[in-house]
Symmetry: C2
DNA sequence: TGCATATATACGAATATTCGATTAGAAAAT
DNA sequence: ATTTTCTAATCGAATATTCGTATATATGCA
């Protein structure tokens, strides 16, 4: 039985565990955007984007601001971006490592 | 449709999206441990710990080393620990913020 | 008021994840 | 060889997540 903090920690991680939501965070990297803008950027359906935003909002990964009929979303804490950046680096390092293993398995021909 | 990198990124995040797995990573913070040790530390069933380790292994969040009948697990990349640390900070900041809001809502009595 | 636009919610089907119980496999010890 | 110990894998039930479709709500405008 994981303790409460670990479970909350995991919940934040789960919140980032969707390709669409990762792309939303990337879209919000350099500032706030409206739902329409995000929807346009990602090329997903409006309802679907709104669902993902709801998940991010519930876990307070994003914050909102209302202006007229539009709602602006932004990442609530820059540390979230930093954490994402680190995990992306881990991913890229893994990919590089895989490539190297592949090369070792079938070395390119010398001529 | 999220691109491939974002989907892989999300997969790593999903891998951390379980309280038990977060606690496993915490248990491995200061070095490698065997499955038995992790199982004892967390107080979960061996089969369950092994299942979680399999998830972490598949996504290469942890790496293994065999010694006799034991298998030692460690976190594969220190950046994963760093990312977790950042997310835990985000979580703690959120909790502090909630506390403050609670205080504002029902201020402690002055005497 | 009526209508268009922006965003959120509800619902259901498909899919994925989680855990316990059980079994399998591999190495060590007797 | 048998038994014991350590770890992994399988299977099924319960639960959670995801997406599309449809609908609701709110705001601004004619």
């Amino acid at each position: 039985m994981p303790d409460k903090i670990s479970e909350m920690h995991a919940e934040i991680c789960r919140t980032l565990g969707s390709g669409a939501r990762i792309e939303i965070l990337n879209a919000l990297r350099d500032g706030e955007k409206t739902v329409s803008e995000i929807t346009r950027d990602l090329g997903l359906r409006q309802a679907n984007v709104s669902q993902h935003l709801a998940v991010l909002r519930q876990r307070r990964v994003v914050a909102t601001r209302k202006e007229g009929t539009s709602i602006y979303y932004k990442v609530s804490n820059p540390k979230i971006i930093q954490a994402c950046e680190l995990m992306r680096q881990v991913l890229l390092e893994q990919l590089r490592e895989s490539e190297e293993l592949t090369k070792l398995a079938s070395p390119s021909r010398k001529r």
